[in-house]
Symmetry: D2
Subunit: 283 residues, 4 copies
């Protein structure tokens, strides 16, 4: 596969789809996937279009320039991706390693189109796993006092490794506003509740205390407000009075992995558009 | 079927189950269902036991007296029900009638063991439905000023009709503390979100604005705090960016009916035990 | 709303989307929804496109003629619909009426864009319901001997009432090949299992005997092979050893309604494309 | 925790529960969990009862003898387990390793009460994983000709390692009748469909071809008939026309792990009773 992908959003008006698809057709591109959505309330047009570069008459380096006329005309926000430019992902993890393992295994089975050169943790639990998978491990212990200096070193090594995307695989630390800004819409967290319920610390305990009959997990982009970023995916599992707090954790782990890995995969396939505090997921 | 049902809760200690089952066995009762649960954290024992009155050597009127010795010994809270004493249920409804219809249809198909002599509404929409099903309809319009006096009349007609249980089938009014107290643990509401998320007004709009990927419904006993009572049942359905606010309502309606009717059925079958703000549902 | 809808399928090749969207743009149409899908294995292109007729420069009667050049060029199968031409639906039902009620109630709440002039049944149970909703009721008892003659009369009244679409709302009779052919891809059935499991008679009994832990429902277009037509929608609910056969029916009823009404709504909104034995549902 | 567990089934009659709970009470046992079920159609009584051995006045070795009088009286099938006798489990695996990894990780996190001394495979893919987790790996390649002799060696090493329970974690080989008999009701398989649909080879391809809208996974005890043994657990995930065959596998993997590990955990906790071709799962 050798394709180009455009993610577009702009004010809705007549002729956008015709213009974009003509652009591809005129340069002899074959559309592999096209999906669009119009938010009628907000009057915004969204599009994801992917076409084969085989026989395409523009070189990769010429596409942006050639497309810019169209983009200006329709006042588009757009990003161009190439399927062969695989993203470089770093995984942050604390003590619980089930989500980390899941991403590594899916990566190994070629279900996540990326490279994973770096794992960062505030604990040592994941060190041996990183070694097993031959991935660099960076230990970055954190407390209230050293948080900003620790983040500074993290950003340095992330930059050095050219990391474009971060998955927080049950990472227990909250980032500073500055860090979040650097990876805005490029950092996905898994929260172990169906947000917006049970924000913050120990959501399984909160769920157990409230006596709910379902528990959930939510993957979302990280913003400066805790557990309040754009939601990408959610799922739930039923529980009953027979389930202890430990049972909730057992059942929840499977959810967390699934909900995080779906979101990571969609992000890496450039299938997510963020607007306001929402996502359009062209699955 | 002619059975007796005991719902029991008490501090956990040795010998409770043996004592209760011996009591039934000694009087020649055949146990049809028995379910128990121990909350290990709170050290509370819960039991639901149902036995056939065929061949039982105690008359219905003698059971409580005969059981009281045991109950005192183990410091039990308990309630005794007879399957042949069908509950008298009233349904409160406002403008949306899908939950009302669902309860009436399930009643008609003999899936809800109760009588339904009375429907109360603050609007006229359900009047004709009540007539179709030959049920008394009481119109009780409400506003801030007349609320307490309207409730007073409602309580009068409820008492007159000997109503033991109330289902709020998308009823849009909040009850006074006094009313709630009268039907404590005997009034079930359906809220159209997965509580504790989206408490209060217009939860579908809240869900749409937050950009969640699932919507839910929750049935719970009504307490004096809005949407905060013991949860009986919850369920969800997936949504996507393609779903408009109206689609959420369309999908949600099916959930609301299902989640409410399950709770109502369990209540009428005496399968729910409430403790603290939680429920044990012996389904 | 005043829109036109095109459902298109054709061999995949370059330029289809550009050609279709240009056609609409050139005649000043505003695209409201566009969705496309390519089956890469079968090399088939599918599209659903809906545009506003406000300001559209072609009259309704001119569209087909004007579009035919394009359609020939790309060897399209296509159908043109107008949102203002509401379908005329007939509902077939036997003794169980929960699906019938559900469709009628959703219709009454304007969630199904159609007219419902006719209910046909081989039993009298639904007669009063039809009267309540002021819909014509046609009693058509069937047995092995009179089947073809009964169907003949049914086809006559369906033709007289200009019925374009049939929903089988738990209808217990199997149609002849001739009848199926007349309403090919225009007749939706609800089967109370997750097909292809438990085809045929009494699927709840089959599920109970097999000891499954989930039960399901499936809506599908009717073909000449029993329960083997293109699947439109499926859903399931969990069960356990605690559920009796009657509990399966109780839980299953809610599924059946939901799974049937979703399919009916999608069909009426022209969101379903059939190819081979599969469906593309542009929800 | 130091508990005894009794799994009992017998013809239903008066006094069983009283007799069993009296037996425990008379010897000063404290019941931790008790669950019972009556299959009214088959007239069979099922019970799982777990009590603390702290303060219990019978030694472990005396319990069976002391209980046998009761067991004879009620014609019970029963098995006695002790929570401190951890099961020895072997995992069979072929090329796909996601279920193997999942069991090993849950084991490592102390969520599976067992030892895992042995992994057996007909391929070499899992060899390194076994080494990482310090578990003995036995390579047992199989073809039509050597099947019985290969099984013979497998049974020898299983016996030598005192394996009491086998999990088939996506193991691609079918066992002989003799092998199945040896581990009757002690061998759990994961099949990647919602049985009884899509029995046998390549169920994802079957599901893709049939055009279903959900895919599933089923864990079951292995019997001599392929994919026809007593079902323990099932779950599903929604798919659409957008999902390729590879997407089905991606989504299905998460299901397979979850559905297998739940069944394995229940088995190891002695929560499953098999009768006929069904299971009672006292979760």
């Amino acid at each position: 596969m050798n394709t180009a992908i455009l993610l577009i959003s702009c004010p809705d008006r007549k002729g956008i789809t015709a213009a974009v698809t003509n652009f591809i057709y005129q340069h002899n591109g074959n559309i592999e996937h096209a999906d669009q959505h119009i938010d009628g309330q907000a009057n915004i047009f969204f599009m994801r279009i992917e076409w084969s570069l085989k026989d395409f008459t523009l070189a990769k380096s010429e596409i942006t320039n050639s497309f810019s006329h169209l983009a200006r005309k329709f006042r588009m926000n757009y990003t161009l991706y190439f399927s062969q430019d695989t993203s470089r992902m770093s995984i942050f993890v604390s003590k619980a390693t089930h989500c980390l393992y899941d991403l590594l295994l899916k990566f190994k089975e070629k279900q996540l189109p990326c490279q994973i050169p770096l794992i960062i943790s505030n604990h040592t639990d994941a060190r041996r796993i990183a070694a097993d998978f031959r991935i660099k491990f960076f230990l970055s212990p954190k407390n209230r006092k050293n948080k900003l200096s620790a983040e500074k070193k993290e950003l340095q090594i992330l930059a050095k490794e050219k990391i474009g995307f971060i998955a927080l695989a049950r990472y227990g630390q909250i980032f500073s506003r500055q860090f979040v800004k650097t990876y805005y819409n490029r950092m996905i967290n898994i929260h172990h509740s169906f947000l917006p319920a049970f924000i913050g610390f120990n959501p399984y305990q909160q769920a157990y205390s409230r006596g709910v009959k379902i528990i959930g997990a939510t993957s979302h982009y990280v913003t400066e407000n805790l557990d309040a970023g754009p939601i990408i995916e959610q799922d739930i599992v039923r529980i009953s009075h027979r389930d202890s707090l430990n049972d909730l954790k057992f059942k929840g782990q499977d959810l967390e992995r699934t909900v995080l890995s779906r979101a990571v995969r969609w992000h890496l396939e450039h299938k997510i558009l963020v607007y306001g505090n929402k996502t359009v997921v062209f699955d």
